[in-house]
């Protein structure tokens, strides 16, 4: 099956080659970080988690969101998602791999990572996060391989896979809940000490993940013969709409409790995020960009006429994805540290090597998704062909049914 990834158009290989170059450059920067220590990042004694851990947090959401196609399809028998369920599962695999890589590059002693398993410590949420993330990776890999091989042979998937799929649904919820628990149980960090953190993580995940899936479906429709069809995309856009509304609602709840109580240690973080504190305001332009994008996205999604227009839907999905990336991938983690536990306002910005390593990990994710989508679509006979060269021949599909 995987051999389908080794044949492809020029465009396919150019894209794969580009990703490999990006990964290689990032790897060189990682070697430098490995050699010199995390001192080459913008992290400090005061702001000890930053860009890497924030990406982990955001991508756990993207991974968990696969449940938004798996659940309607397998639990409610919503047939329209049949074509894209595998795309959701592969997106989840790519995301979880990125999550694991972001944890590894953030470790001071990566070669000791196995101490997590040698000395299992159930009172640490990081231990549970490792368990749920690796479990989710195994579940999705198993499910997608089994269902896709069955499809390739033209037979129904074996019966035993069904309970595994059903099991993966609550498991998907658990990965983002446990990731929220990493933060939400720390008395030292009042900004994260909120019971709505896990629900908020899930809501934002169920908006950002399906938004990305819509964008990928529309992209595949453009550059390949694969057409997910209008109905599943419309259904996904409704899911994005509701999830985004719930997410914005929960953020507003946070504002209310912080500012109505006006407890300084709660308001200070929000003030830093949106207005700056002590003249320090690195995040302010980003956070307002996120606010504008979220409002624009909500408008485009809530009005049915606009939501059904695929051009506007594309804009809305970009706005949702980028808006939520800023919120979770930039704002949420760093702001937990500003002000510090000593009440000081210290700022953080990722350094160039840190950004290059981050981009490289995203490239690994993109490569995984590209290769797996290529395999899945070829198995399904939705042949990828090159639209740049007019008259380019579709590739062979001899693997189908062989």
């Amino acid at each position: 099956m995987i051999e389908n990834a080794l044949t492809g158009s020029k465009r396919y290989w150019t894209w794969v080659g580009f990703l490999l170059v990006v990964i290689f450059i990032g790897f060189l920067f990682y070697l430098r970080q490995f050699h010199e220590g995390l001192g080459i990042t913008g992290l400090s004694r005061d702001i000890t988690w930053g860009f890497y851990i924030a990406q982990l947090t955001f991508l756990v959401g993207v991974a968990a969101s696969a449940v938004m196609v798996v659940l309607p399809y397998y639990l409610h028998n919503y047939k329209a998602f049949g074509k894209i369920t595998i795309l959701g599962e592969f997106l989840a695999i790519g995301s979880v791999v990125m999550c694991v890589l972001f944890v590894v590059v953030d470790l001071g002693q990566p070669f000791r990572a196995f101490n997590l398993f040698l000395y299992p410590t159930p009172n640490s949420m990081l231990f549970w996060d490792t368990i749920v993330l690796s479990g989710y990776l195994i579940l999705n890999a198993l499910i997608s391989v089994v269902t896709l091989s069955a499809e390739r042979k033209g037979i129904a998937p074996p019966n035993w896979i069904r309970p595994v799929i059903i099991f993966s649904i609550p498991w998907a919820v658990s990965i983002h809940t446990v990731t929220a628990f990493l933060y939400a149980g720390l008395g030292a960090r009042p900004f994260w000490m909120t019971a709505v953190l896990a629900p908020r993580f899930l809501a934002s995940a169920f908006a950002a993940g399906p938004a990305l899936l819509i964008l990928l479906c529309l992209l595949l429709r453009k550059i390949t013969k694969f057409n997910a069809g209008d109905e599943p995309i419309r259904k996904l856009s409704v899911i994005v709409t509701y999830a985004m509304i719930v997410n914005v609602f929960l953020v507003l709840m946070e504002f209310f409790t912080a500012f109505y109580s006006s407890i300084p240690e709660h308001t200070a973080h929000f003030k830093y995020m949106y207005f700056g504190l002590d003249g320090k305001a690195n995040l302010v332009p980003w956070m307002w960009t996120s606010v504008v994008l979220s409002i624009a996205a909500l408008a485009l999604l809530i009005v049915p006429k606009w939501r059904r227009n695929f051009k506007l839907l594309t804009v809305a999905c970009f706005a949702v994805f980028i808006g939520l990336w800023i919120d979770k991938g930039l704002g949420l983690i760093v702001t937990g540290f500003v002000p510090t536990v000593l009440g000081e306002v210290v700022e953080y910005a990722p350094t160039f090597p840190e950004i290059m390593i981050t981009i490289a990990i995203y490239a690994v994710g993109a490569l995984i998704v590209t290769v797996f989508y290529k395999v899945a679509l070829t198995v399904r006979g939705e042949i990828i062909y090159d639209r740049i060269k007019p008259g380019a021949k579709p590739q062979s599909v001899e693997t189908i049914g062989s």
Binding site: L38, G39, W49, G108, P170, A188
Partner: protein, 255 residues
């Protein structure tokens, strides 16, 4: 359908229960191993710092120097990479939740000594995924195994007192004079004050207490009613940092 919705709800409910019970058993376990047991064999070490005596010695850093010297703590010239076990910080930073406008300026304008509080309920120990940091039940000292630490820095995030430092770079080139009888650390691990457990073992007081010529620091066993720390806490009014968090810090400040 192999599994219906009811079955699905059962599975998801059991998953949540499993995770919650793991956590709950830990919580109950820690509540009965509280440190303050009085069977006569366990100790509970604590530090008492006299802010009045300390503030009289403007600019004195004897305790900091002594500690950082005997423990091979590196000196970085930038704040970002800083490693510190004990340091002087403003009253505002040390007690920012207990401030008001009319406090004695004499107290407020003088720095406060900060170090690991060796909490009874240490959040750093709770979050460590490898047990690289742990609380010794025999004397309450919060210890670290620098060889087991994976450098995830979860403990740094969880500590409400900013007492933990991470080695962002190789510390060795930044140690002025390496002391042979104490290990140096490597980059990528967390470190902090250990109440000089290596000196206590030999019956000596912690290096900072020994170095303080002004008697502003006292160290001892809270389980012993006759100890100097118990005497000071009986006779004088004392405060602790962020007591509302329930961490039960064991560094007390006399005001």
């Amino acid at each position: 359908m192999g599994i219906d919705r009811r079955g699905f709800l059962k599975v998801s409910g059991l998953t949540v229960l499993g995770i919650a019970s793991g956590k709950a058993s830990e919580t109950f376990a820690s509540s009965d191993s509280h440190g303050h047991t009085s069977d006569g064999t366990t100790k509970r070490y604590a530090m008492v710092i006299d802010l009045q005596l300390c503030k009289e010695q403007e600019g004195c850093t004897d305790c900091v120097n002594a500690c950082h010297h005997v423990h091979n703590v590196p000196e970085f010239d930038n704040r970002k990479d800083e490693v510190k076990w004990i340091w002087k910080d403003s009253f505002h930073h040390a007690f920012h939740e207990q401030e008001h406008h009319y406090l004695d300026k004499d107290i407020v304008n003088h720095p406060v000594l900060l170090l690991c509080n060796h909490c009874d309920n240490p959040p750093c120990v709770q979050v460590c995924p490898t047990k690289a940091t742990f609380k010794r039940e025999s004397d309450g000292i919060v210890m670290m195994d620098w060889h087991r630490c994976i450098g995830c820095r979860y403990c740094v995030v969880a500590c409400p007192y900013g007492s933990r430092s991470f080695n962002w770079r190789d510390p060795r080139p930044h140690i002025e004079e390496v002391v042979d009888d104490f290990p140096t650390r490597t980059r990528g691990v967390v470190e902090k004050c250990t109440f000089c457990e290596e000196r206590i073992f030999e019956g000596r007081p912690p290096a900072c207490v020994e170095a303080c010529k002004h008697g502003a620091m006292a160290f001892g066993d809270l389980e012993d009613p006759e100890s100097r720390v118990r005497e000071l806490l009986r006779d004088r009014f004392s405060i602790r940092r962020k007591p509302a968090l329930g961490t039960e810090p064991e560094v007390y400040y006399l005001v």
